[in-house]
Subunit: 350 residues, 2 copies
C-alpha cells in the first residue's frame, strides 16, 4: 500500500470557517481540456470612455451625472437588489415556507477615475484611499438603524458577471446576516468561546510557522492559500493582529493592507499574463451594536481560472450536488503564486 | 407603508433542506444587461461523430474502444477525481488542518448512442432505460464495501463545464457523504425525528394543494420550482410516495419518473428555444448499510440561464461571500415554465 501524499492522492479537507469539507483531486489537473474557453478581456481601453456609466462626468442611464471625481467615488446602485423601504408583513410562520422581507442599501464604488486601471496597476497610495472609503462606508451604512451587516466586494472580469470593465466594487448593506457570514460567525464564535482566542489568529500563526501556503506577507498582514481553499488560486488576506473590522485598523495597517491587495492582485495578473478575474470581499464584524470578540478581519479572493487565461474551473454537477472539488493541491497553488514576480507584467515590458 | 408583495419586494426565503437562506430580488430582473453573453451550442450535430470519444465503436484517448452500444453505456471515467486505491495515512488530528484520504469510483454514462440526441429529445422508453441503468449502478457501486454514497448527475451544455455534447451523465461514488448530501440528510433526519413524516412528503403535499409552484405532475411524481429555489429556473422532481432510493421504485414509478424528466427538460428547451444547459442530479439515501427512513428520493435541476439563451445568472461576489440571490420570484418562474408547450420546439417545426 502506498503512503498518502497530499500532492497525489484524492482526499478531503475541512473548512473550519464554514464547517464543511471539500474534495481535493491533485492528480486530476493532468486531464486534457476540450470544453469551453473564456474570451480574453480587451486590453487597450482608453483612460476615459464616453460610453462608460462609471467614468467621471458621464451621465448614467437614469439621467444622473457622475461627479468629476479624482480618487474613489461612491453612489447608490441604480439597480439595487435591496431596497430601503419598510413594508407591512404578516408572518405566516409555516415551517417549510419561511419568508421574511429584507431591507438594505446597495452602493457602487469606483476605485479610480481611470477607466483602464485595475487594482494591481494602481499605486499603493491610491488603493489606500479605496480602503479608507470602505471604512467610511462601513461606518456610514452601519450607523443606520436597519443595517446590521455591510458586505464589501468586487466582481472583476466578465467571467465573474462584471458588466463594466471600469475598476469598481460594490457594497451590499442589509438588515440580516447573509448565510455565509452567519455560518462564519457561528464557527468563529464556537472557537472563541472554547479557546478564548481568535480562530484565524491561531490558524495564521501556524501558517506563518510552516510557510507552505503563505504567498506574501508584511508586518501586519499575510496572504495565504487556505488549507481548505476551494477555487484553484483562492487566497485570503488575514490581519496578523486580532481585530474585528476595518474601523479598528491603524494607519500603518491601512497602508499594509493596501500593499497586500496590490501584491496578490499583481501576482494574479502575472499568473497567466492577463487581467485576472475574481470575486473578492471582506468578511468582518456585523454592525449590529453587539460586541463581537470572535470576529477577525479578513478578505477572500475567489478566482475561477484554472489552467490558463481562458480555461476556468467549473463548479457544476458534482460540486453543486455533492461538494466543492479542486484539481490541484493548495500547496501547489501557493508555491506557484509565491514564485511569481512581484512586479506587474505590463510594467516590466515598458 | 406598502403591503408586502413577494413578486415585488426584496425578501429572504429559507431552504429547509440545507438550513440556509437565499435573497430574492424580484424587481431586479428589469435592469439592463451589458455583461457577458454565452455562445449558443451548435445545433447541427451528426448522429455519429468520428471524433467523439463517447460515440459507439470509437476509441478513447487511452486506447480503449467503446462497445457498439445501442441503449445506455457505462464505463469508468478515464480522468477520475476519485480513485479506488487505499493508502496508508496517519491522522495528525490538528483541529484547523483536518484532512482525510478519500476513496471512490467515477463513471461516465452515455444516455444514447446518438451523438445528437439529448434527454428532452429521447423517447420516454429510452429515458426509462437510463433510469434502470442508474438503479443498476446504484446497486453495483453501493455494494462495494468502501462505497457509502452514489452521486448520479449530469452537466449539460458547455456553460456547465460539459466538454462533450454527446448526451451523457456521470456517477461519482465514494466513501464519505459529500457536504451537500450530509447537510440534506441532517435536516431530513431532524424533521423525521420530530414529526415522524418525510419533510419532502409534507412539503410536496402543500405544494400540490396550492399549485402555485407546480410545473407539471403525473400519478407518481411532481416537478416544482422549490419555494427556496436559488437558480432562476431551478426545479425539483419529487416522488409522491415516500421512499429513499431509486431501487425502491416500482415499474410504474420508473416510467413516471422518466416521463417527468422528459417533461421538464422539454419545457426547459422550449423556454428559450435552445438546448437548455443545466446541472442535474439525484439526492437519495446513502449505501452505508444503515436504515434511512428520513430520506425521500428527489432530483434537482440547477440551470444557469436567466434572461435568454445567452444570458445567465452569475452567482459571484455577493452570492459567494454573502448568500445566493435570485432576480425573479420562484412563483413567476413556475408560471412561465408551466405555461410553456409540452412538445419540444424542434418536433413542432417538423
Ligand atoms: O468530468 P468533466 O465533465 O470532465 O468535468 C466537469 O464536471 C466535473 C464534475 O462536476 C467538474 O469537476 C469539472 O470542473 C467540470 O468541468
Ligand atoms: O451588480 P452587477 O455587477 O450588475 O451584477 C453582478 O454582481 C451581482 C452581485 O454579486 C450579481 O447578483 C449579479 O448576478 C452579477 O451579474
Amino acid at each position: 500500500m502506498q503512503h498518502f501524499n497530499h500532492n497525489e492522492h484524492p482526499h478531503r479537507r475541512y473548512n473550519p470557517l464554514l464547517d464543511e469539507w471539500i474534495l481535493v483531486s491533485p492528480h486530476r489537473a493532468k486531464r486534457p481540456w476540450q470544453g469551453q474557453n473564456e474570451t480574453l478581456p480587451e486590453d487597450n481601453r482608453p483612460e476615459h470612455d464616453e460610453t462608460c456609466y462609471l467614468c467621471a462626468g458621464n451621465v448614467r442611464a437614469n439621467g444622473i451625472k457622475n461627479e468629476d471625481y479624482t480618487n474613489s467615488y461612491v453612489f447608490e446602485n441604480d439597480f439595487s437588489a435591496l431596497l430601503k423601504d419598510d413594508v407591512l408583513y404578516e408572518s405566516k410562520n409555516k415551517s417549510l415556507f419561511q419568508l421574511k422581507p429584507e431591507r438594505g442599501i446597495n452602493k457602487v464604488i469606483c476605485f479610480s477615475p481611470k477607466h483602464n486601471l485595475t487594482l494591481p496597476e494602481m499605486e499603493v497610495s491610491d488603493i489606500e484611499k479605496v480602503v479608507q472609503t470602505w471604512a467610511e462606508q462601513y461606518i456610514e451604512l452601519g450607523n443606520q438603524d436597519f443595517i446590521n451587516y455591510v458586505q464589501i466586494f468586487e466582481n472583476k472580469g466578465s467571467v465573474m458577471g462584471c458588466s463594466n470593465p471600469h475598476p469598481h466594487g460594490q457594497i451590499w448593506a442589509q438588515s440580516s446576516l447573509p448565510t455565509q457570514v452567519e455560518k462564519t460567525q457561528k464557527n468563529l464564535r464556537a472557537y472563541y468561546d472554547k479557546n478564548k482566542t481568535s480562530l484565524l489568529k491561531d490558524y495564521l500563526d501556524q501558517e506563518l510557522k510552516s510557510g507552505e501556503r503563505v504567498v506574501v506577507e508584511n508586518n501586519h498582514f499575510a496572504v495565504v492559500v487556505p488549507f481548505w481553499a476551494t477555487w484553484p488560486y483562492e487566497t485570503m488576506i488575514i490581519s496578523k493582529r486580532h481585530f474585528g473590522s476595518i474601523i479598528a485598523m491603524t494607519a500603518a495597517e491601512t497602508t499594509a493592507f493596501a500593499e497586500m491587495i496590490k501584491a496578490i492582485t499583481v501576482k494574479y495578473d502575472n499568473l497567466f499574463n492577463t487581467s485576472f478575474p475574481y470575486s473578492s470581499g471582506i468578511h468582518q464584524a456585523p454592525t449590529d451594536r453587539v460586541s463581537h470578540p470572535e470576529w477577525h478581519f479578513h478578505m477572500h479572493f475567489y478566482p475561477p481560472l484554472l489552467r490558463s487565461a481562458t480555461v476556468k474551473k467549473f463548479m457544476v454537477g458534482y460540486e453543486m450536488l455533492g461538494e466543492a472539488q479542486r484539481d490541484i493541491s493548495p500547496e501547489q497553488s501557493a508555491k506557484i503564486l509565491r514564485e511569481l514576480p512581484n512586479v506587474h507584467y505590463k510594467t516590466k515590458n515598458q
